[in-house]
Symmetry: D4
Subunit: 248 residues, 8 copies
């Protein structure tokens, strides 16, 4: 039920064309969601700059391309995650301005290029194998209007590499730490900065890393206080959360 309908109904009562009892009956019979959830959805309208997001895994190139085409009619940026090169080939047939980021396996369509803040989100990784997940986080944050500083391959086994970058890390407003294997980087960074730290375990590793469980447990049990953890390999979630924090 949109507000026009409600206004009409009130007008009819005001004009005596409908009794208040009749109006009451109509209002009672209306599915509640038409009353209540119009309001629920309003809050989405004020989330300016939020991209439309498509999780491409498990979709055919045709299905993915169709969704991109439909969303492209709106003004929002578009972010397609877990997208194969095949999907991208199909997408750009109808959305030529789409851009593919192969490391992150992300497709972006940016309509609004301006930054919404000048506060930086740092995205750091323990190893080079963690970069795809880190790129997913970084591109997500960028598509949502944040400046991103990428600091890769600074794992704790060679801790001087990390300290070398500490001034850059400390100057960020939010820090995303991406690490597989034992995931110790999150704890070390968490002890060195006083900004929100978001830890992303990756499935990088072998043997008893169990597809990311080892890093996940490390991050959940971190001795450094106040680290936020997201799901294994969930670069998108980390970037989204970091952006939500960065906008406050």
């Amino acid at each position: 039920m949109d507000q026009t309908y409600l206004m009409n109904l009130l007008d009819q009562v005001a004009e005596g064309k409908m009794s208040s009892g009749e109006a009451m009956e109509q209002l009672k019979e209306l599915p509640f969601q038409d009353l209540g959830f119009a309001k629920l959805d309003q809050h989405r309208n004020i989330r300016t700059g939020y991209p439309e997001t498509i999780y491409c895994e498990g979709k055919t190139p045709e299905q993915a391309a169709a969704i991109f085409a439909r969303l492209n009619a709106n003004n929002s940026n578009i972010l397609g995650t877990r997208a194969s090169a095949e999907i991208f080939e199909k997408v750009r047939e109808t959305v030529p301005e789409a851009v593919y980021h192969p490391a992150a396996r992300v497709i972006t369509v940016k309509k609004d290029q301006k930054l919404l803040t000048d506060k930086v989100i740092a995205v750091i990784t323990a190893g080079t194998s963690d970069i795809p997940v880190a790129e997913e986080a970084a591109i997500t944050a960028e598509t949502m209007g944040n400046p991103v500083d990428r600091i890769f391959d600074v794992g704790v086994a060679g801790i001087h590499r990390l300290f070398d970058k500490l001034p850059r890390i400390r100057s960020a407003n939010v820090v995303i730490v991406v690490a597989g294997m034992e995931g110790a980087l999150a704890s070390v960074v968490g002890g060195l900065v006083d900004k929100p730290v978001i830890a992303v375990p990756t499935s990088v590793g072998y043997g008893a890393s169990f597809g990311g469980i080892s890093a996940l447990l490390t991050m959940l049990n971190s001795c450094a206080a106040g680290i936020a953890v997201v799901n294994i390999d969930n670069g998108f979630g980390a970037g989204y959360l970091a952006s939500n924090i960065n906008r406050l």
Copy 2:
């Protein structure tokens, strides 16, 4: 926002005391739930005969007794699960008609004793150690107005005991199977009856039974089609579900 408020508002519009625009503004500012969820809650009122339920674990006797006292002012039956004898002692100080079922660790206050159906729910167990969970299920179902047939200690290691009771099991409308250890009884019963079967794994067992996980997995993977599984030791959930089915 109750309907009286809404009626008053419509009356004011009808009487010209308030313009339709002003009414619109008021409606827009109302928290939506006052409109919508009045309706949401209505469906609870038609659930006649549903008991009020209190999960007593982790509550002090005083806390539990206070809740019983408050609910006792209503007309519903009351069901307190996972209740210790200590809690019961405190409860019956203020609710003398409360009854304690020590095996099931359940407290009941029955105001409406009549059966809502004559269709029987059979509650069967593999061993004698499964009886407490079975009793929780049985009393839950009885408190919700169902006749219950208890058939205990008919595990598959001595399958003739089960077949001995098969006519009674088959004459039930819904069957609850309670079993720990390897939980095979659920599969055997599921293959012998064509009524809905609800399987309750119990934490009875030792070694690799892992507190009920073995029985839980057995029941989820049953080769007999269409078995409903609830949480380990969740007699209440099984009784509630069985009652929901039995009333259809």
Copy 3:
């Protein structure tokens, strides 16, 4: 031992052609199942409308087709689950009236098209990726003679979509909730309806969803009382159970 044999034996005793002692010896030597399990099997004959079911996974197209051909000689509907397109190609060579449902990966042969009830089973999903499992459930229920209402993609992250469909969900007699990832939809629906709710966890998700374990645990631990859980991705089991309940 069919009853004719038993009758003949009794006749011979009655006619004095066989002593009661000789008859006793014969009866003792008969495998008991020929006496007892004739009765066991009788109950299957009254399950009118139950389809013959074939679990196709792990069978070659030739094996599957042979089974379809053999069952096709009976009057029952046939339901083949987890069937690949290759299997279907082979099946329809000998059973031309077979129909393939590619999303559900189900083959049906319907001989008895009439509904056995007008009570509706609602099948709802959290996301679009859950639809294959939901379709398996829906087609199973339909093949067993139930009307089905499909309500897809109403996950809790955009809860207004769910509430929009609530009247339809509430008007169903049994509700099947299909959800992967965190599976929270089952709890929310369980709190909103007072009919039996069957929850199907799916293996949709990544990272710490562990192939459906996350959703499975969510559903088993639901704070909403009386939710029935089946195995991960077990659409068939949910449809079968729902039909069993719907026929009561």
Copy 4:
């Protein structure tokens, strides 16, 4: 090595009392950390308002009291988590201004009572059993200078209770969701607000809740984007993280 020492050394060189070669030797022999990590520690000094924190579990009352007494000489607030009543009895002998919060099992010593921000952190729980963890989060946030809005017992099984509080939840700057059992509340809240959501799984539940694993997995796999997860029962971590975010 503090800067005074370094300044003295440079002065001596400048004054010719020490050759540059001798100074070089002294600098080389200094443990590097005295040079480098003086800087490392500087960042701690600017964390004004951060409380000193003591994890009391596993400490004797005497040990805990001694630490409180020592820290009490500083100007910081003090926060003791997982503290028993016995520990508190001992602590207040030497720190009479210490306050005990029994539900949260937290001891606070507040020297700086002023709020550092007027942005609110909402702390909401699914059930009443989750309140102790929620209180740990709330008191942590308050001790760090944040206003907190407590909204308890709004689990998804009775979702109208949640919607009733939605305006309060939405007006917060950061939202902490505390839930055990299946933990579905985090997903529902995550879909309804556009502020950072921190999810705290609790060990509340039984059977297949596995001491909080079920809720933990639910939160990690949430279909709502951008939810931060902390360890099971880690109210302190959630409050600390929320405060870090709220101060940005």
Copy 5:
């Protein structure tokens, strides 16, 4: 239905007191189990020498004593496992000839003391902490009429102790290996003897032994062919299985 009843029925037919049709009707109406499972139960009668077994865990001393008293009226040996000293105190009030084996926590009542075979069952343990489980196995086997050779504390960390006993081990007909921690003894013994080896993992150990899981997995994955595994700490099951094998 016992055979007397069936004989009577046939006699009545033979004598013309009942028509064959009437007899047929009676037979059809009899619950099948009365026909079939008379036979099912017959096999129990030939299991001469099998003890009656009582799993005492979770029973009160009174309950356990009552069962002992009732079984004591029969001629079978009685075996009570997982029995506390308190239970034994109560049992011997009514069954004075009961004997308690405190290490094994077993109560035995032996009426038939003769050995049913002279083939030996060897029961060997890795360490001294495994002895209680080994004793449960040994006493079970003895109560079932087997001679037992106990060989304790011959774990692989000092493998010369094992080889010292090899001639005794090899002269046994069946070998039970009881081991906790890493359970490697089963593999070594399995490679040295060509008789059936039954492996019993125990919950002895700490850290990553996980209450016996480590030893259980070791035994299931043994590189020595043909090792039988029973549940963690299941001395009774091992003794029972060994006796079943030893009697062949």
Copy 6:
């Protein structure tokens, strides 16, 4: 050191060609295993009829064929498990009498065809998908000289099928039960026979069957006493163990 060498040495001492001191030195320097383990190995020689066994998985066809060719020079039967058709093609180039059993993925070379016993090993399965593992067990037992009775597809969901075969099962000396999914068949059979029962969990199933863990746990926790369990899908181990038992 073979005995000839030792005899020669003693002869030299007896003949005065070597002093006892020199002989002592030689004996001391001999690796002890040459003394001790000659005896260790003797026991292998008396294991007449044991096949040589080759685990083919992970070997190239060339490697496997080379091992077959080498072993073929001996008089033992040969058993190659987990062998692909490709491996068999290569093997029979050099060992033409080799036979391939495709369901079991086993290659046999039988030189000694006679049965070593007339006692039967029954191999029974719950479903048709369990047959490959059952065949591996059956062929292993046959190659080791045992008569085998195959009884397939008698799972507990249609328990009359099992009872139909009960006389055959009971007449066996050892029973192997092969079952996936929930594995309940082992418990039911264990309760119906008084011979040793060997349970083989299979990886057949989906969802929460976890590649055989569900069936494995069921079998370990069986309420029927004295069931021997082997590793998941370990048909070879079950056949080997059954043969070891059957020969006693």
Copy 7:
């Protein structure tokens, strides 16, 4: 069979008192272990300085004291691990020189106080709660004759504390790192030193630390090369291994 016996036998052959054939028969009949394993045990005699070790957990004070008294007759040091104060009270009644280390729960009896090496073993912990395990390691190493340098509470959340001690850590010959929670300290230390690092996960932590599993996985998956891991809380094993390495 000791060498005297063998020498006598050879002498008899040399002297013609025994034929070489008779000697051969005697040698053949000797249990092999008497030949071979005399040698096996010799290597123990050269392990000078190794303490006798008693794992006290699960032993009664009387049992433990008896073992101490018996071992005290030898010249070796004695090390009793996991010893309660009650056990110590009993032990010192008969072994007055026994010393109790309450934090480590270790009893030592030192007869040989001299250091066997001047190379230092560093034992470092992440937190104060890890000290008991660290003390077990340190005292084990000391009892085995190694100098130990204890460096406690240098976890990565405040990494400057670690760097402050780095010169001491680097000057050690072997480094033991003891850490619970997320165990990240092992990786950081492993990256900073080029000596063998032994990592001991502790069960310190809560929630998803799962009794030490989190730290264990972290250490197994360490990105720093060549870290040795021992069991959870296994301070003794770490000290023993470190000593074995330190003596090389």
Copy 8:
């Protein structure tokens, strides 16, 4: 900041060209790592003979070859682990002296062929399937300048094979034990030698070996004291650790 820079600065102060205050400002502004971590990195320079290591998994042949080419400009040996034949083909285009070890999947470039010690590292395996991991360990140790003795296929199921090699094993300075399935070899070897033992679990096995978890747990729980465990299949880590120990 290298020391030249620091010396220049001090010289300027000494010469009066810069005030001590100005120098102080410069020192304060220098990134601390330039001061501190110069020292940190110095320790790397003294690790003569350490190879540069490249983990090739997940890298394209081009990426791997580029890294080899760059490192080849230095004087260190190079070790590429988990390298496919494809990667090697590409690497040797630019580094013709590279050698491929196909079993170990390792590429080596040796510039310094001399042994740094004559103490031997023994690498032993339980089965032939464990050889690839063992070779990775052996080649790693060799590339780091250690002599290696390979002793393969001496698993405990035929323990005489192990004892046959015991003198060689005992003469080694460090022992690496590589075993899959149940991993019992590590315990047996640990009990037979008094040198450091490094255990490497492999993913060899099936069923309940769970990709190496069974062997891993066995090794962590070994009853033989002081066994060092590394990650599943981590031959490189074992070789690296053994070399670190062997050089002491």
